[in-house]
Structures are given as structure tokens and as C-alpha cells.
């Protein structure tokens, strides 16, 4: 049965999430980027420019510029750490794992491949915030469709 108790704020604003928010990894433009995708969430204003340098199907470089809430920006920062040096196909698999976690899948939330992003598992209990956490991964999926 679904747990309907009020979720704890501590599940949402964990230290590691706030730390990524304050000190984002891989922030800025990427020299030699082969792909650039801009995505925003018009209803809340969260925004990301995602830059990738893909060589022979592998993400050799990744960075972002963004603006928005702690959840969206921390999630993107964590994502760039996960995807660096991964094949694009593996990145897409991880995007599916992350989405499963956002839908409350406990197996996905325990998947070590998601590294720091596992701290975002609690977001699944705040339905209005799930789209914040997904913004970066959506941008990566869009970028993976581009040629080059």
C-alpha cells in the first residue's frame, strides 16, 4: 500500500544535495562540445544548457549551465559526474534507472551506478518536485538523439 504519511523534509534536502547545489560540478561551457541542448521547464523557470563532447559514442566531455531550484541544479550536477566517460547507450540506460527511482522503484534507488544521485530518491515522495529532478536527464536524452 502506498505510504501517505507526510514525507520528511530531511529526505528531500539532504546535505549532499545542498552541497551539489552550492558547488555544482562540471559547470560552465564546454570547449569542443559536439552537442548542445537547451531545456527549460516553462511552468517554473528551471533551465539547463547541457554540453556534450561525444567521441565514438562515448561521453568524453560534459558540462552545464543552469538556473533553478536546488533539486534541479543538484540533479544535473550529479548527472554530469555519472555520465562522464560513459557510452551514450549506457547513459540512456542510467536515465531510465533514474526515472524508475523517481517513480519510487526501490531497486533503482539502491543501484550503485546512480552514485550521488541516489540521494534524490526521496524526491519521489514530493510529486511536484519530480520534474525538477528530471530536467537534466531529459536534456541528456534529447542530446543523445542529435547526430555527431
Amino acid at each position: 500500500m502506498m505510504d501517505r504519511s507526510t514525507p520528511a523534509l530531511g529526505d528531500l534536502f539532504q546535505d549532499i544535495i545542498l552541497e551539489h547545489y552550492r558547488r555544482p560540478r562540471n559547470q560552465g561551457m564546454l570547449a569542443g562540445a559536439t552537442r548542445h541542448v537547451h531545456m527549460n521547464n516553462p511552468t517554473c523557470g528551471d533551465e539547463v544548457h547541457l554540453y556534450l563532447r561525444v567521441e565514438e559514442g562515448v561521453v568524453r566531455g560534459i558540462s552545464f549551465e543552469g538556473e533553478g531550484c536546488s533539486i534541479s541544479q543538484a540533479s544535473i550536477s550529479m548527472m554530469t559526474q555519472i555520465l562522464k566517460d560513459q557510452p551514450v547507450a549506457e547513459g540512456l540506460r542510467l536515465a531510465e534507472r533514474f526515472k524508475a527511482m523517481m517513480h519510487g522503484d526501490p531497486a533503482a534507488a539502491a543501484d550503485r551506478d546512480l552514485r550521488d544521485a541516489r540521494a534524490l530518491a526521496g524526491v519521489s515522495r514530493f510529486p511536484t518536485r519530480v520534474k525538477c529532478a528530471l530536467l537534466g536527464w531529459d536534456a541528456f536524452e534529447k542530446a543523445s538523439d542529435c547526430p555527431g
Binding site: P7, L9, L18, T43
Partner: protein, 73 residues
């Protein structure tokens, strides 16, 4: 009705924290994106009070904002 911004804390984060404290506010653009741009803020948090609100309700709002500041330090 008043809109406000807290330094260093995104309005949606403020709203989530207030929600958990039992205080319902609106966060976002309030359909005034040009004004948000003019004010150079990503969004604002908006509290709407009416005749049924009590002094205690407002105290809870303030406590919630203090909690937000505590979390985001």
C-alpha cells in the same frame, strides 16, 4: 497578498518547506514573466491572507521561513 524572495533559496524550495510545515503558498512566475525578468528574480513566493487567517497562521509562516533559512544556511 504579498510576494517575496529569500536570498539564496529558490522560491520552489521555500514553498516545499512551507508546505511540509502546513503552510500553503504559491511559488512561481504568477503569470508575470516580464516582471520577474525586470526584477531579476527566477520566481517569487506568494502568501495570500484573508479574513479566516489568524495571527497564529502568520506565525507559522514565519517559523517556516526560519526553517528554510536553517536548512539552506
Amino acid at each position: 497578498v504579498f510576494s517575496f524572495a529569500m536570498k539564496g533559496i529558490h522560491p520552489h524550495d521555500v514553498a516545499t518547506i512551507l508546505d511540509a510545515e502546513g503552510v500553503a503558498v504559491r511559488a512561481g512566475h504568477h503569470c508575470t514573466q516580464p516582471l520577474m525578468r525586470r526584477l531579476a528574480v527566477p520566481a517569487t513566493t506568494r502568501a495570500s491572507c484573508f479574513v479566516y487567517n489568524t495571527r497564529e497562521d502568520l506565525d507559522r509562516l514565519v517559523e517556516g521561513l526560519e526553517k528554510a533559512r536553517e536548512i539552506f544556511g
